[in-house]
């Protein structure tokens, strides 16, 4: 089924248009990288704060409020640039195991980010309520960090698999 979708996309006018413009893929990839930079940096700073690995600066719930809206904006840019790249070279992405793993990991990261964010929106002192709350948030932060690293690795490995 994925092969059929890939073939259909490859035959589309948009795909030919973008593929013929030799500058499009490196440019879209560079934009993709800049958006990754924003998302990974903001999440890393927030998660390190949640894990108690950095002590300076505003409290974690303030950082979450400043940064997570920008994480969502970054994810939108990633989805759009990623979709255009996939339309340009559907076989390279859709039929690639690294790409498929990456998409599952991105979905997992979106869910973890959503849970982190909504916990703080509901209660800015979420982590202070109980040890259980603190441990849950720290687990989410650790998972988020691991996901960021593995998503970047899976993304880079698309080119090698």
């Amino acid at each position: 089924m994925m092969q059929a979708i890939s073939d259909w996309l490859a035959s589309s006018r948009l795909s030919h248009l973008l593929a013929d413009a030799g500058w499009f893929v490196p440019t879209a990839q560079a934009i993709h990288i800049l958006a990754i930079a924003a998302v990974v940096t903001l999440l890393s700073m927030l998660n390190f704060r949640l894990l108690g690995l950095t002590g300076r600066g505003p409290p974690a719930h303030n950082l979450a409020g400043y940064y997570i809206p920008w994480v969502w904006r970054g994810l939108v840019i990633l989805l759009v640039s990623g979709a255009l790249l996939t339309i340009t070279e559907p076989e390279r992405e859709l039929m690639n195991i690294s790409f498929r793993i990456k998409m599952l990991l991105v979905l997992a990261l979106a869910i973890v980010t959503f849970v982190e964010h909504s916990s703080f929106l509901a209660d800015s002192h979420y982590c202070n309520r109980s040890r259980h709350h603190l441990m849950l948030m720290r687990t989410l932060a650790a998972v988020s960090l691991v996901l960021c690293v593995t998503i970047v690795a899976a993304g880079r490995l698309i080119a090698y698999s």
Binding site: A37, T41, S44, R56, P58, Y66, V152, A153, R156
Partner: protein
């Protein structure tokens, strides 16, 4: 010994050859390079957005730079070390690669911009810590953003040119 001889010798060292010939060493160092580079880009952008007065105006400039810059330095160190490893594996090829040269030039200018900012412009930062910074600080932020975007684009283009 001229530059090409030196780069040839670098390429032929045991470690550089190992990276060039291995199926996984180059992708490994490249992945670490890209990950830590994204931390450099993101943290520089955070400070620049504040200097430009575009984000976080309610937070003091010094608060943002004090919490963010340690990330920038740590990430930059790892990025540069990985970059050296990657470069050494095909030194003579990269040396004459135009996007690579553009990237290195932009990196040098970004370094100069940063030295000028910290050494001169930011001397009196406590007097403009809140609100929109003075023009000279905004210029530093704008120059930094432009140079790092060039670095990101040029870096990606290296892989598309031979």
């Amino acid at each position: 010994m001229d530059m090409i001889d030196f780069l040839n010798q670098l390429e032929q060292t045991r470690f550089a050859s190992a990276v060039a010939e291995s199926t996984w060493l180059f992708p490994f160092f490249e992945t670490v390079h890209v990950f830590t580079l994204s931390l450099v880009l993101g943290s520089v952008a955070l400070v620049d957005m504040r200097l430009l007065g575009l984000a976080g105006r309610h937070r003091p400039v010094t608060e943002i730079s004090n919490t963010v810059l340690p990330w920038t330095w740590a990430a930059f160190t790892v990025t540069a070390l990985c970059g050296l490893v990657l470069f050494s594996s095909k030194a003579t090829t990269y040396y004459v690669n135009l996007p690579f040269r553009i990237k290195m030039a932009a990196l040098a200018f970004a370094g100069i911009n940063m030295i000028v900012f910290h050494g001169v412009t930011a001397r009196d930062v406590t007097s403009w810590d809140m609100g929109v910074p003075p023009v000279r600080a905004r210029v530093a932020g704008a120059v930094s953003v432009c140079l790092w975007v060039v670095i990101a684009f040029a870096g990606r283009w290296i892989g598309f040119t031979r």
